[in-house]
Amino acid sequence: MSVLEADRLTRAFGGRRAVSDVTLELNGAECLALFGPNGAGKTTLLRLLAGLLKPTAGTARIDGEALRGDPTARAQVGFISHQSMLYDALTVRENIELAARLYGVADARRATEKVLCEMRVLERAETRVRALSRGLQQRVSIARALVHRPRVLLLDEPYTGLDALGAAALTETLERLRRDGGGGNGGATMVLVTHNIDEGLALATHAAVMHGGRVLRLERREELDSTSYADEYRELVGGAA
């Protein structure tokens, strides 16, 4: 039984299929880098895997439990997008503690301290989010997604807006999470959507390309040739990237 599973996932909006018949499986300590042009359906797929959207057909599963209608499955997921999902009138600490409590984390205060430390924003803990720069907000947003130690991490272009320091902190955190991360049950499972092929391949154990709602290509990291991958990718999506 895999940790994260998409079983013929399909999602239509009106007559248009944003995600069409996607099947994939990931186990612990695996990271899938998902590439594709704008409008390929990557964000929709991630939202389906996070339980934010209901599939038109097919199922998304975490540890064998279908995500739809199961809040405990949802609790295993951490989701990061370029929307910060923060309340800008509240402080950094208040935002993270709220998230911790919403997920039922045992010692919310300590978990907050820990994750703020990991993302190197502890010294700004009492600052209101609206007073932070975009890059710092992104770091706080990532901290929010990690505070409950999710087994599955879904990242939608998380490097957007991060400076070199922030990007390094993120890569380090993600690497660590992938190796030992999660809730102490072994490494976290991740799906990373990014436009930057090198950044994606650096963290990935698997790579896939999405276009027109379908997964065109899916393989293990060691099976592909990283030097030619960018060219193959461009050819595959026909210059629509």
């Binding site: 009106g14 994939l24 290509r217 393989e219 293990r220």
Partner: protein, 247 residues
Amino acid sequence: MTSLSVAHQPRSNAAAPATVEQRPLFGWLFALAVVCTVAAYARAIYFTPIEALQGASQKIYYVHVSAAMSAYLALGILAVLSIVYLWIRDERADRLAESAGEVGLLFLTVVLTSGPLWGKPIWGTWWTWDARLTLTLFLWFLTAGYLVMRGAIEDTAMRARYSAVLGILAALLIPFIHLSVYMFNTLHPKPILLKPDRPSMPNEMLVTFFAMWVAFTLLCLALIRARYHYAVDRDALRALESGGGDA
């Protein structure tokens, strides 16, 4: 995990539109309804005796009451379809609810205009806060709100869901409005000069009432049907226009 490769994309995922039937918007049911309505009107105007106390203007009452019945029918359909939509999520239920809403608004407007037209010669005022008129007024606001809300939402699925929720809540509200108006009327008697209770009706009037009621019911159903066909065509056209350009 194995590697997959897919050679090419299917052209479009939108369901191919079925051939649109060439059917007229207003069919046999509408023709029948119009015939019945004309006949009922004729009967009311020429072949029904004039009521002693109220005079000729009492005849508006046939239209007023029948329109109210049709309005309740249309809105009842809307309420039921709202529940049906949330249950089976079929967009046809939503389209039918939309059609019933518009037709309901039409009949409610007839009630609200015929009421004062009847009331002025009889009661001496254009408006009284009597039970039926007040309830009709609030139904009018609710239905208008329903249609305005529909107009403000682009996404078809969201529009259908929101409309269904509003339809059900509005149906829940009706007993409360009814009760409020009832309490208001019984506890605050109005000084009116002439209080026309419904007089015991001779048979000819009852027949006319019945004829008008049947005619308006047919008219209501025919209009809903026509409006529904329009909605089907409109949505098919929209699907064609937006479904064409996607890969």
